[in-house]
């Protein structure tokens, strides 16, 4: 005779516990935190490069750059003026998890920081399952991708607070339907804050910088 035993446990309860500890630590030191997610090649590293260059004199920024195999992204970001760039090579894993962040967090002097950027591995599925203790997720897509990306990866767009549409300078060469992508994304998540920009030409970046500066200030004072 078989017998059923109730368990009722989250599979990722260990991850969630660690994420809650990370969140509490960041809150304690008033450090805002954003988790950047996208497909490979949407421009996470480019957006972070531009952001570090623009805001490094105003904000004390630290960055954990997840990469499956190389430290290339971290090297690029260090050149962009991120003095506190920590590469995190996942060795094949398709996402960052809270354990990886908890392991490297002690390397930062949190009390002196304003904001922590977490650059996730390029993937719109797996990182959505793992809370890293961040304040919010920023999802990027670019105009060279399909405008049905939000419909294909609803979990990620539902869990994100900001959507950045990059490479708008290439819009005229693609069949990307800007209105459709915004409609699709807002259908999944009506609260998404949307930015349209080009890291290459700089168009639209100022609005992103302004929003980010305000967000960090709000988090600091909360």
């Amino acid at each position: 005779m078989a017998e059923k035993v109730a368990v009722e446990k989250k599979v990722l309860s260990e991850n969630d516990k660690l994420a809650a500890e990370i969140r509490a630590q960041l809150k304690k030191h008033a450090v805002a935190s954003l988790n950047f997610v996208s497909s490979p090649g949407s421009g996470k590293t480019s957006l972070l490069e531009k952001t570090l260059e623009a805001l490094r004199n105003e904000l004390k920024i630290a960055l954990i750059a997840g990469d499956v195999q190389t430290e290339n992204d971290a090297n690029r970001l260090t050149r962009a003026g991120g003095t506190l760039v920590r590469p995190l090579v996942t060795g094949g894993a398709c996402h960052l998890d809270a354990r990886m962040i908890a392991r490297v967090l002690p390397e930062f002097e949190l009390a002196s920081l304003d904001v922590l950027f977490l650059e996730n591995v390029g993937n719109l599925v797996c990182p959505s399952s793992y809370d890293l203790g961040e304040d919010m997720k920023v999802v990027l897509i670019s105009t060279t991708e399909g405008d049905d990306k939000p419909l294909k990866y609803p979990g990620m767009f539902r869990r994100s607070s900001v959507m950045v549409i990059n490479k708008i300078d290439l819009l005229e060469f693609t069949d990307f339907d800007m209105e459709a992508v915004k409609r699709n994304a807002l259908q999944i998540n009506g609260r998404l804050k949307i930015f349209e920009l080009s890291c290459r030409t700089g168009e639209g970046l100022q609005a992103w910088f302004d929003w980010l500066r305000d967000f960090v200030k709000t988090q600091k004072n909360s």
Binding site: M1, E3, V7, L12, G190
Partner: protein, 124 residues
């Protein structure tokens, strides 16, 4: 493809559960997986079967219950099933809706051979 690490977390959690509750051989693991969880059941079963040998779950099967996405409207409090991931209240058209279910990734139950409790000698 993070189902392999999810499968590994399941095996870790259930193994701890077996030790804590002193359970006999587990025959089945009941999972609740939300449609919005980003988990592919087939890939999860594949990963679980690949990892389970040499663990206390070597004989276990996964029994997966898919949980549909539902939401509650923050404006008019209407509860509704979310079709095609459209998070808009069908009653008042508001997009201020909270996800109620569909993000689950939970171990609901274990099925063991009866009696499931081994006699603990320290209790005698």
């Amino acid at each position: 493809m993070h189902e392999l690490s999810i499968a590994s977390s399941i095996i870790e959690t259930v193994t701890r559960e077996i030790q804590e509750k002193k359970l006999d051989a587990v025959q089945a693991v009941g999972l609740r997986i939300g449609e919005l969880s980003g988990i592919l059941p087939d890939a999860l079963e594949f990963g679980f079967d690949a990892l389970k040998s040499d663990t206390p779950l070597a004989q276990a099967e996964l029994v997966i219950e898919i949980v549909p996405v539902t939401a509650v409207c923050s404006e008019c409090k209407h509860e509704f099933k979310v079709e095609e991931f459209v998070f808009i209240c069908p009653q008042c058209q508001s997009s201020a809706v909270e996800t109620y279910s569909g993000q689950e990734l939970e171990i609901a139950w274990l099925e063991t051979e009866s009696p499931h409790r081994k006699i603990d000698e320290t209790e005698i």
